[in-house]
Symmetry: D2
Subunit: 433 residues, 4 copies
Amino acid sequence: MAISGKLSEEKVFKDPVHRYIHVRDKLIWDLIGTKEFQRLRRIRQLGTTYLVFHGAEHSRFNHSLGVYEIVRRIVDDVFKGRPEWNDDDRLLSLCAALLHDLGHGPFSHSFEKVFHMDHEVFTRQILTGDTEVNAVLRQMGDDFPKKVAEVIGKTYENKQVVSLISSQIDADRMDYLQRDAYFTGVSYGHFDMERILRVMRPREDQVVIKQSGMHAVEDYIMSRYQMYWQVYFHPVTRSAEVILTKILHRAKQLHKDYYTFRQDPVHFYSIFEEEVTTEDYLKLDESVVMYYFQQWQEEADPILSDLCRRFMNRNLFQYAEFNPAATVEMKKLMELTALFKKAGIDPDYYLVVDSSSDLPYDFYRPGEEEERLPIHLQLPNGDLRELSRQSEIVDAISGKRRTDHKLYFPLDLIKDMSSKRTAKKRIMELLNV
Amino acid sequence: MAISGKLSEEKVFKDPVHRYIHVRDKLIWDLIGTKEFQRLRRIRQLGTTYLVFHGAEHSRFNHSLGVYEIVRRIVDDVFKGRPEWNDDDRLLSLCAALLHDLGHGPFSHSFEKVFHMDHEVFTRQILTGDTEVNAVLRQMGDDFPKKVAEVIGKTYENKQVVSLISSQIDADRMDYLQRDAYFTGVSYGHFDMERILRVMRPREDQVVIKQSGMHAVEDYIMSRYQMYWQVYFHPVTRSAEVILTKILHRAKQLHKDYYTFRQDPVHFYSIFEEEVTTEDYLKLDESVVMYYFQQWQEEADPILSDLCRRFMNRNLFQYAEFNPAATVEMKKLMELTALFKKAGIDPDYYLVVDSSSDLPYDFYRPGEEEERLPIHLQLPNGDLRELSRQSEIVDAISGKRRTDHKLYFPLDLIKDMSSKRTAKKRIMELLNV
Amino acid sequence: MAISGKLSEEKVFKDPVHRYIHVRDKLIWDLIGTKEFQRLRRIRQLGTTYLVFHGAEHSRFNHSLGVYEIVRRIVDDVFKGRPEWNDDDRLLSLCAALLHDLGHGPFSHSFEKVFHMDHEVFTRQILTGDTEVNAVLRQMGDDFPKKVAEVIGKTYENKQVVSLISSQIDADRMDYLQRDAYFTGVSYGHFDMERILRVMRPREDQVVIKQSGMHAVEDYIMSRYQMYWQVYFHPVTRSAEVILTKILHRAKQLHKDYYTFRQDPVHFYSIFEEEVTTEDYLKLDESVVMYYFQQWQEEADPILSDLCRRFMNRNLFQYAEFNPAATVEMKKLMELTALFKKAGIDPDYYLVVDSSSDLPYDFYRPGEEEERLPIHLQLPNGDLRELSRQSEIVDAISGKRRTDHKLYFPLDLIKDMSSKRTAKKRIMELLNV
Amino acid sequence: MAISGKLSEEKVFKDPVHRYIHVRDKLIWDLIGTKEFQRLRRIRQLGTTYLVFHGAEHSRFNHSLGVYEIVRRIVDDVFKGRPEWNDDDRLLSLCAALLHDLGHGPFSHSFEKVFHMDHEVFTRQILTGDTEVNAVLRQMGDDFPKKVAEVIGKTYENKQVVSLISSQIDADRMDYLQRDAYFTGVSYGHFDMERILRVMRPREDQVVIKQSGMHAVEDYIMSRYQMYWQVYFHPVTRSAEVILTKILHRAKQLHKDYYTFRQDPVHFYSIFEEEVTTEDYLKLDESVVMYYFQQWQEEADPILSDLCRRFMNRNLFQYAEFNPAATVEMKKLMELTALFKKAGIDPDYYLVVDSSSDLPYDFYRPGEEEERLPIHLQLPNGDLRELSRQSEIVDAISGKRRTDHKLYFPLDLIKDMSSKRTAKKRIMELLNV
């Protein structure tokens, strides 16, 4: 069948992380050319992070190509020819790798939280609905789009394929750690991926790592740990995220209250109503969101306009440490809430507790939320051993969830409370600023 | 004066190209925080290049910080204390470096061409008009904004300062070559900047290079040459640029013809009329432009909607070599124009000659357009010598303008001309596709 | 005084790790030119490691310049002007950094073990004896060489200076981790040194790290951990080390037994007798050692010639895991020893247990061997906190000594035991080969 | 046949330049293990360059593995399966790549000049003589060693194989440019090798480059140009080379004059007599040479001992520009010669003209010395075009031999001429020091 055929000449993309991304299959080339995939160019990989690490302006398009390339190298250079690997799943693996983030929207994290959306649902809908991507995939067979969706949804029967895309050491993570490190410029995020790829082995219902690669895997786990706390959970990034979330909250509330927007949020109607169609969703990208935020700087509602101005001009909230488990701190928060209200600063929008939490690596705990299969090392004698039982370093951090809470607030507004001197003084005391 | 003072603690930005960007002056910190400077985050450094080199998604904000950092290193680490250098111009140099691109808008090149705008004029207006940037600068004295504008406009009396920002080896070029190479991932664009900075010397009315750094400068010139032809003038980037330009042309024309847009181009009114105020201009960024392009995909006008769909979904024009100096080729073009018209494909929008041209290095030719002072080497005995007289390699390419012409056309539309078989055949013959 | 003066023009060395090494002080320039310092070019930084990581051919000369450069950056760019830092100790710090390895000989580790030498003693003797280095140093004052020796010997009164050269995060370690990673090509060994340098602070009797740099320090500790187990204690490197040690043992024994060497080991006499003068010692470098090993390949003594051939031609010993704490393994070793003897393979030279052990990081345990001061973080409020109390990751590995034992043997000789089939079979069984 | 078989498990070497070097063929693995190949560890790739660029301590062993790896990637990843390529020549190509420098001795350049030796002759002798390398090669057939020698000697019938090892863009040059840049730390020497490899094509009797790779090739040519003048012909490196050459001259002369050496130069006898056997030659490595130089520092002959002390302790000659084509300069040289003689400084050893010359790229000039085939680009239509006809930059430097002459002398000795004040003054005047 022509569609599953090879391109007459291999296409390459210059990629700063993997040097070159190689495309030999017409199917992959056609998928990249669909408008749903091109849309990922207009969605940043790291959302608001660019407001802290100015280099982090790269898109999910970028990352998706990278994940594809990693899987391509694994299946073509490492797995090919091994009896445990079924090469019939090659193209399926490549497609799932390329398209795994297809359902992401702009600033996914905040939108999902405020509007109860789920990018995985949209990924499935785009794959199986009336889209260019679906049309291209169907050329491989009518059930091919569904299969791709199953791989991404982790329900596909060949768990080796699932593992390549979603496990504790998958192509997704390997690409984003390196890519995000590259674009932010931080020195973490580097590990010897070439080594890891060379020692990956298909094995029954998973992908395992030969023991000789253990140290490279340790390094990868440490990179992940550092990237989470240095970049992804950076407190100032979270401040931008808090403001963004509050903008969405405010707009939703105003819509509910029949507020008349100067810039009518046409693109947001179905989102506010939480009845988004795939078509609506695909029209939403960061340009559109930023366009509205820019317009909303001029809205009559003082909260919406203030928050939008803050976001556009990077005038973010300050933060203080906060421990929700301590009664004394919860009391403080209640007092602050009261003081904010009295001062006319709506605490629903201007006094925000934000929490970040990560599990650097976990062995298997069935039934837990977000469970991911552990990493297994294959010993020289063929036995498997779970990573944290072999590596002291990984054992040391394994299963230890680290959580960080912060309280965000607009220091400038507080400083401007000139008419309410006592309240201002008390607030600043409580916030220790 | 407090404003000229130092920050209580140095601020640093993590930068992937220069590792860290150091800010010690409150003035610089405040300038970065202005909304006019933050706006540069929403304007890509390389316009449409990201459609070819997917990594090239970095903004002018990024680059502006980089130019600032290079100038800071020169004045603080190399020039400071040298009798030829007037350290009173330190802050002025830093401000000019940081703000030199302030007047750039989205896809500047195309907008300037179609609407006869000039980003240098806007830079001056933003510096001296009623803006946050101006308010910050004025704290250094009422004429300080004007001085910054003069440096950027190359009219400032201390030509050493001007040279730092605009010469054949200035901080602007040194940053963008490295930065664009980093983000695109190409292997060109590298040269030993640290070496060059160390051998720069202030000297009467220019900045010269000690002869011992000649080879690093040669390498820089070669990097520039390669970046121009490999990245900046890449024929596919130019295809995207051609489409973008044609979108703007079409929208302008429609506006002139009283066409009723479904998505009313409010933000474009004053631009179409070529009467843009600074305020209007500052509202224009790439999100806004992309928002309109996205909307215009649904316009009734078939040309505008087609071109917008092409741009958004990266369905670009193909190209053929073209030599405007050859009579036979001009004849071909005329025949193609006629055939396109007959086929109902408007050649004004779908048959486009595009030319790129660069002068890799030039010695001084007074009176020439875009003249830039040549690079002077300072010999051990103190004499100056123009670079191309000392370097064989630079001499070899000095003053040689290289120009490349291409003819762009939509191969898909031509292939679809099924009802006009003869015309189609002839067109494809002429275009050699 | 002229000698303490600055060079008329700064000298730079191109360095692959730190890019440039800057020398502004005539004293440093003169020290580099002494024959004792130039001798470090003939001593490899990593001894026999180049037999496993072929890139590791770099010398101690290389590393010494690197340590100097790091200390220079700390004192000139970070400490200078801080009230807690006494700038009078600047040159002393630079000299100690440059000269800290001056007393190292060829393959120090093995030589010291076999001949009970101590490179620290030789460092002191070279600094204070009749040498070119001493003559240069004395120009700073008669007690200056002694002061340099005190810094290197960790007894100097200003503990800040001592900390720069010898602590758990000193310039020595920071250079060698990066340098050894660079030359071997492994991906470990990288950490953000620039960040660490920027947050180092002189503080009473130590050098502390501002808390904001904690993650960079974590990364450094992890790099160190990985470098130890991946490079420094690589089992094949240790095989080469075992053979080298056995060559020295054998030569010493032969000398004691009045064996007549074809190549008379003139350079080794005083070493064999353990009565080495500084002058003798300085004549010993790797060329000399390698020269003898090459000659000794032709010696009549079969053990010496065999071991030398193995070393020169990289025909190393194989290894097996070995646990000296397990009675069953000790029994095995005894049986193997007996079998080797019976087979005519001298177990003293051909059956060797080698152990490596490292403590990745340690808090303070007074009285312990090789105690090093712990790393202290300086909190924003000025308090100090020991690193492992602040960092989960460091806490996890803190104070945990990891040890690895291996049993080395010549597989080729065992395979050649054709006449003794039963013994051979049993040996191979016991060694699991 | 077993010997041509694959290793049961691929072996890898960690390489800082190519990341990993992959060995799948037992033949290659066995060749690497021979003592003749291991000997290359004791011969530095860049001779005396480490005295200027201290990182340049890497050996020919290092480089040989690199050339092998490049050829392996070309034949296995690019050429394999192409009809123009005969895969029967695969192993031959790999062997020739690995062994192309086998006949190099210590400081080859100087030894060859002084003793009229030729490393290519020794390579052939080692390949075809009674050596371990020969024994391994012969397992592929009795004429296999000869074939390898023919490839290296450029006489092998399949010129594609010859081109891989010796042409203007061969694996040898591509490795050493990158490797020498890496170890010296200079920023030149980088080019996009991955790109070049991907566009190499076997074609009748040569290897050509697809036109799309032209810019990468331009970059390679420029790298080569810069490396020659910045590193290989660095005037201070040449000073070390001059001294080394003069040591050899002196020793040879003393031997001829029946001088009695304290350290009898046993290893040099056959060299002095210019009757070196392969066996003698293989015993000569840099350790041996350095051992003698170290001993000769104590010789009675003042010239030999002085030159050896200079070399060991890096007390090199100074230099002045010199133009042998100018009569006035030749007169100066004659006057200096006379003055040196009078002052008792033997001009044969202490006043040396050294010339370096390079041709950055050349089109074909039949009959010229050292002719190398030009680089051909393959146009999209299949035509070939010589590089300099397609690239302006290459054209600019093509065929232009650049030569540099310097006059070397010991400034310290001249300064010490206290008793001959007039002569000293005149010498310093003539040398402009």
